[in-house]
Amino acid sequence: MEKIRNNAVVKKIGFNRLVLCGILLLMYILFAILSPTFLSYSRILSALNYAYFLGFLSLGVTFVIATGGIDFSIGPVMFCAALVSGQLLTKNEWPLIPCLVVSILVGTLFGVINGVLVAYGGLPSFITSMASMMISKGLGSVFTKTQSVSWPQASEANGWYRNLIRLKIGGIQVPTGLVILIVAAIICAIVLNKTRIGRYILCIGSNREAVRLSGVNVKKWEMLAYIICGMLAGVAAIFFVGAYSTVQPGLGDTYNNEAIAGCVMGGTSMSGGLASIGGTLIGVMIIALLQEGILAMGFQKDYQYVLTGVIVLVAVYADIRSRRRRN
């Protein structure tokens, strides 16, 4: 075991991440054995559909969790962004590009609200984000007059955004969304590990006061984490409608939990200071596969709620235990 762990390649990728990959594979094989129809390309595409938007949510919330905070508003904010921009697209007949920008802006706006309240107002992040969750639900509902909004299909005018998710080349569905998600993850990883934003975000999560006393404007950097998170929720909105077309007001809170679950499974510590973008990505894939698998076996979605809850509990407990042992 130690030998594998100290192998240079293993070290480079990270032992935990390899284990996670192994589990992903194991789950896939398991589902394939138990449900013969599981082994099909369209299944993978279907699971990926779920992974895209969840991936962006998870990437975003990773930054917030890295500061030691939490954001419970991402799911509803994603819906709010998709509702507002979708309304502009379908009812006000705006061109597509500005609508996509609006979607990201709406997400960013909520990021700013959360960030200002938490970083500058000193409010606990969980209660703040829960309050903004309610506000985003209400806002999306007000803006669309409580209706659901259906984004255009690939074949319709303005439907090309769907190619962001999958592109049909020569009769084969190419999961372009996966490429984009991976590129986004790489950018996030660079931001987190190689830039000042990331450095300060991680350090704030580790010891906010020490960073502040080093003369760093912690409020600004902490707020930035929430803004990045909100922005990515806005991006997630595009990928959600790209996969599922329709959004309706008043929903989205279940996705918070799944995004956070992906994060903590990937090795991001809930107490802050420790984050892994690669891990988050794999964590999200596991959640997506789990959801696909549960459906494939004909189980109610409820099992997923229960399972995700238990997974997060176990992951957080493990994190706390390992921290306790270190100190």
Binding site: S148, Q248, I294, G298
Partner: protein
């Protein structure tokens, strides 16, 4: 580090146990390995495979996938019952699934995709939102799996995908409710000195069947009122205000107020009902599904204004269930509309079966009925009333 590993393994173990539980549960239900040919994950091979429809190749036993709108309301249990009865009768197997609530569109899309991936002989679908389901419908078409719509059907589906609909015409159901309501309040509107108010409670403004039921009611009652020389205005929820077809006049004789709660919460809907009842000019309230109608019963408990007598507020519900049935029976409700869920369930399976056996099928309107204290014992109606 070790703990982390342990935790991850634990998760895996959980998944495994769950999966194992599933395996043992599924075994007796379905015949072993309906799929004899080799499956690959190669995309090219997969695309090719989709062209050949071999879903009913082996064994000859038919399997259907039914994607419903969820089980929150007893209504769906009745549909399920009808479907199960018919399936047993015809000797076919089916999976009957549905999302957690009628707002979980994304979940239903996943379920539809999943159903297509299982390659059944045919799929029964009650789409929460057709546009969201289009990808899945397209995939079913590509795979040559016929779809039969039910409940509200699959309106605006692409050409050739849906072979038939076994549906309630929700708009017509709304209209029926409007006619019956109008009969009861006609005189009051005619004799009213000031504005009178008709309330409409809708669980949400996103599901197509609820929108149709609401709009059918509003449009029809508006039409009837205008025909009698009065004016109408629609206020409240913007969706209904914008989409209703009746001519709206400010300061009209009759105001139709539509209320939609922020979430599916009986407390919120009950409050909406009370808000309406507290307005002195309210003469009738219509609740467009089980949730809303039940909330009307609850909401009225504080005020006791519903009834059929002089000065009472007329209440009209939709669907059945113990609470609503009791309300109709004791005269709190003027009456309610019921669909024919059991018949619908049976019809869906029958239609699917016919398609699988190569027969041509056509749309079936499973219909709706108006029931009151008087006629609710009639066998014809009683069979569609459930607890």
């Amino acid at each position: 580090m070790k703990k982390k590993l342990l935790s991850v393994l634990l998760c895996a173990a959980m998944v495994a146990t769950m999966a194992a539980g599933c395996g043992s549960k599924e075994e007796p239900a379905s015949t072993p390995a309906p799929e004899t040919k080799e499956e690959t994950t190669e995309p090219a091979a997969d695309a090719e495979e989709e062209k050949t429809d071999e879903s009913q190749a082996a064994g000859g036993e038919l399997h259907f996938e039914i994607v419903s709108k969820g089980f929150q309301h007893q209504y769906w249990q009745a549909v399920l019952k009808g479907a199960e009865q018919k399936a047993a009768e015809l000797g076919v197997t089916m999976d009957f699934v549905g999302p957690n609530s009628e707002s979980d569109i994304a979940d239903q899309v996943q379920m539809l995709n999943n159903a297509v991936n299982k390659k059944p002989a045919a799929i029964g679908l009650a789409a929460l939102d057709t546009k969201a389901a289009l990808d899945g419908i397209q995939a079913a078409m590509d795979a040559g799996i016929p779809i039969v719509g039910f409940d509200s059907g699959v309106p605006e589906a692409p050409e050739g995908a849906v072979y038939a609909n076994c549906a309630t015409d929700n708009y017509a159901a709304g209209e029926l409710a409007a006619e019956k309501t109008y009969e009861a309040i006609k005189d009051r509107i005619a004799n009213a000195s000031g504005t009178v108010r008709i309330g409409v409670l809708s669980q949400d403004a996103t599901g197509e069947s609820l929108i149709s039921r609401g709009l059918g009611f509003i449009d029809k009652i508006g039409e009837l009122i205008i025909a009698d020389g009065k004016t109408v205005n629609v206020v409240g929820n913007q969706k209904f205000v914008d989409d209703s077809k009746c001519t709206k006049t400010d300061g009209a004789d009759v105001e139709i107020e539509v209320l939609v709660p922020a979430s599916v919460d009986s407390a919120l809907s009950a409050t909406d009902c009370q808000t309406l009842l507290n307005k002195a000019d309210t003469i009738a309230i219509y609740g467009s599904n089980q949730h809303s109608a039940e909330a009307m019963v609850t909401g009225d408990e504080n005020l006791g204004k519903f009834g059929t007598g002089e000065g009472d507020v007329i209440a009209v519900g939709f669907d059945s269930g113990a609470v609503i049935k009791a309300a109709v029976k004791d005269g709190t409700f003027l009456g309610a509309i019921t669909q024919a869920p059991v018949a619908m369930g049976e019809a869906v399976i029958q239609t699917l079966y016919d398609i699988a056996n190569g027969k041509t099928v056509s749309d079936i309107d499973t219909g709706c009925q108006w029931y009151t204290a008087e006629n609710m014992e009639d066998p014809e109606i009683a069979q569609n009333l459930y607890d």
